[in-house]
């Protein structure tokens, strides 16, 4: 844990001016009444337990919803009955797009879904993009930008908005999901949540429970990289992948 940075010298005077603009002289000592700040770790845990139970009970309808919202947000959605089918779908996508250089992350999902074998059977040999594999950052970078397809897993997928939460866990190289023009995300049923509320409630609990080690960085990917900045004409694939595939197990 790095040392806590120091307080900015202007902080006290700044807060004083804000306070006097609000017509108060003394600082507020009790936390203002705000429903989402109130619950402590115990109550938050209770809340998350309910959320998880609900999501388990309604898994199949959540998966259907995810498939619908994702299609509406320009994802190419494929559903796989089992791991084997998922692997062959990934190979099929690679083959159809004429992919030559494919990179994947080193996540656990690939222990269950053996895409490497499936890919090799169609003549594509995947490269694993993860630091700490005796490759320099520069080499990883070049690999990612040369690739025409990236395959990774997710932490969560939110059915409400087709948002895939990508957190920097071990083995997840950022560039695999950002640099190549084509992205395939593998989603396992337990990762699917119904709503944004579910996701942020879990995020909050994770923070409360983390002792000294918190995740400072994560992203949602909710569709292809897009812009309409020139003449309001929709164009995909600006800084991120323009072609996005979701392979849902279950």
């Amino acid at each position: 844990m790095p040392p806590t940075p120091e307080e900015h010298p202007n902080k006290a005077a700044f807060l004083l001016r804000v306070r006097s603009a609000l017509g108060r002289t003394d600082p507020i000592v009790h936390m203002p009444d705000h429903p989402s700040l109130k619950s402590n770790a115990v109550r938050q845990q209770e809340k998350v337990r309910t959320i998880v139970a609900r999501n388990e009970a309604r898994r199949s309808s959540a998966l259907d919803r995810l498939a619908r919202t994702a299609a509406a947000a320009s994802w190419n959605v494929r559903r796989a009955g089992d791991a084997e089918e998922a692997a062959s779908i990934v190979a099929e996508i690679a083959q159809q797009s004429g992919v030559k250089n494919l990179v994947r992350s080193a996540e656990d999902v690939f222990k269950r879904v053996n895409i490497d074998a499936a890919l090799r059977s169609v003549g594509v040999s995947p490269a694993i993009l993860a630091s700490g594999r005796s490759r320099s950052r520069g080499a990883l970078r070049d690999m990612a930008f040369r690739a025409d397809m990236g395959v990774t897993g997710v932490s969560y997928a939110i059915a409400e908005t087709a948002s895939c939460a990508v957190t920097p866990r071990k083995g997840v190289a950022r560039l695999a999901s950002l640099a190549p023009p084509r992205l395939v995300l593998l989603i396992e049923p337990e990762q699917v949540l119904e709503t944004l509320d579910d996701f942020f409630a879990i995020t909050r609990l994770n923070r409360m429970q983390a002792r000294g080690r918190t995740i400072n960085y994560f992203n949602f990917i909710s569709g292809p990289s897009r812009t309409a900045d020139i003449e309001q004409t929709l164009t995909i694939g600006v800084h991120g992948p323009g072609e996005v595939h979701m392979v849902i197990l279950g």
Binding site: A21, A73, V172, T214, Y217, I230
Partner: protein, 490 residues
């Protein structure tokens, strides 16, 4: 601070009105945003739920403002606990100095920027350039206007006034690319140019859509993926955030992420959301190595101090009020003369910059109230406009802002409205005086310069009817419409 050109408002809006190409694209783009917003709200929530969400969001933001000192302290502690640095800047000059200091300390040569309205307020690009540091905007629209040397035309569509030909010409000049009419090609040119910058940059600067007090998380909303690049490709990430950007809890993001993209572009969510609250741990494979959050006042205290104006700080910069405003849709963004345009620009620019220079802005509205109806945080923009007009009229500028003729007219009006006979008498006089100038039911030009000719300089006035309603009623209608059972209904 970026120069305030709002004193030119009347001249600049005249220019925009005469620009036919601009009129066409304004109508086209605004119509698109309005339609997309309406249908996504209708599909996903329906009016009643949407209304409830707006009410809740307004309450959360208002309460955060009422306790702003408390929440600023909370943000500061959370971010520092995460290992990030926090700064408090009173004005643009201080904020610029802070960023420059971080850049110089680290020997930064290239800075990549993801869209930040605060950085527009600060005019930081010029400051960096002067010190030999190259700032590069990475949002495509911002990149285009940076090459053109202009300011954003719209909060979320900064280059909407540029045609593909103009963009192609800019790219030919700056990127030495071949001319093309193909928009897709143009995007590829920009992407390739920017990829080099992403690789070379040592520092990324972004704005913040939301800053979560409880966790110190900054949330960025983008469609292109440039936010993600800016926050993780360079070693250092600097966030510039207006001090009002705070929401208390991480769970509040669910609500605000539902409201913002739908209000802005009619999307259910944008393609990318980046959440960053500090530097990455050495074992992480993603995120910046150094994280700095600069909280900026720059005139916001003037809004906070005024109890009526305070609610303007609830704004989440979605642009819906611009898209729906009959005035913005005609004159576009540049006429407002500073960073923020449309209804929100009209209420925040005078208090944040200079009441005198921006005195015309509160009058740039028909008070139709559409902005208030579409605002996701329910800012009562018409009321705030009237409040500012009141201040101007009451001499907030240190001068009397009304002419003796206006005062005479208002005095007469006051008398007439309190007395039926006087009102009818004055109305008849008006009828007599204007009738000679009416053509086809409109009065196009009144000659009594300068007293009233200003009224018809840029608009037609409906010609008064030959007989007043009161007379018509007395002479014909009262008899016909007598209530069948003889009772008068109020």
């Amino acid at each position: 601070m970026a120069e305030v050109k709002s004193a030119e408002f009347k001249k600049a809006s005249g220019r925009a009105l005469r620009d036919e190409k601009l009129q066409h694209s304004l109508e086209h783009v605004m119509e698109h945003f309005v339609g997309a917003r309406a249908s996504v709200i209708e599909n996903d929530f329906g009016d009643e739920n949407w209304e409830a969400m707006r009410t809740r969001a307004a309450a959360i933001k208002q309460s955060t403002l009422e306790h702003l000192d408390y929440y600023l302290d909370m943000v500061d502690r959370s971010v520092r606990r995460n290992g990030g640095h926090v700064y408090f800047a009173d004005d643009a000059a201080q904020a610029n100095a802070i960023v420059l200091d971080i850049a110089k300390r680290n020997g930064v040569k290239t800075v990549i920027k993801s869209k930040s309205m605060v950085s527009e307020e600060m005019g930081i690009n010029h400051i960096l350039e002067r010190e030999g540091i190259e700032p590069v905007e990475t949002d495509l629209g911002e990149y285009i206007i940076q090459l053109a040397g202009e300011t954003p035309f719209h909060i979320i569509a900064p280059a909407m006034h540029k045609t593909r030909q103009e963009v192609s010409a800019l790219f030919q000049e700056w990127l030495k690319t071949a001319p093309t009419q193909d928009i897709k090609r143009l995007c590829v040119y920009a992407r390739d140019a920017l990829r080099e910058k992403f690789a070379a940059a040592d520092m990324g600067i972004s704005g913040a859509n939301f800053v979560v007090a409880e966790t110190g998380t900054v949330c960025l909303v983008t469609n292109e993926g440039n936010g993600r690049m800016t926050t993780s490709a360079p070693r250092i990430h600097v966030v510039l955030a207006g001090m009002e950007k705070i929401v208390p809890a991480v769970e509040d993001l669910a609500l605000f992420l539902r409201l913002l993209p739908r209000s802005a572009t009619g999307q259910r969510i944008t393609s990318y959301n980046t959440f960053v609250g500090g530097p990455r741990a050495p074992s992480d494979e993603d995120g910046p190595e150094e994280f700095h959050l600069v909280l900026v006042d720059n005139g916001r205290l003037n809004l906070l101090r005024d109890e009526v104006m305070r609610e303007a700080l609830r704004c989440i910069r979605c642009g819906a009020c611009l898209n729906h405003c009959p005035v913005y849709r005609k004159i576009g963004g540049h006429a407002y003369g500073w960073v923020y345009s449309g209804p929100i620009g009209a209420i925040v620019t005078p208090p944040m910059t200079n009441m005198k220079v921006a005195r015309d802005l509160p009058y740039a509205s028909t008070l139709c109230g559409t902005c208030k109806d579409v605002c996701p945080v329910k800012i009562d923009i018409p009321r705030l406009l009237l409040h500012l007009r009141h201040k101007v009229a009451e001499g907030a500028l240190g001068e009397r802002s009304t002419t003796w003729m206006e005062r005479l007219f208002v005095g007469q009006w006051h008398g007439a409205m309190r007395n039926r006979k006087a009102l009818e008498g004055k109305a008849n006089l008006g009828r007599l005086l204007t009738r000679p100038f009416a053509r086809g039911g409109k009065v196009r030009k009144l000659p009594f310069a300068p007293m009233v000719s200003g009224w018809t300089a840029s608009r037609d006035f409906p010609a008064p009817a030959p007989r007043s309603f009161a007379r018509l009623w007395r002479e014909e209608l009262a008899h016909d419409n007598a209530h069948p059972n003889g009772t008068e209904q109020g």
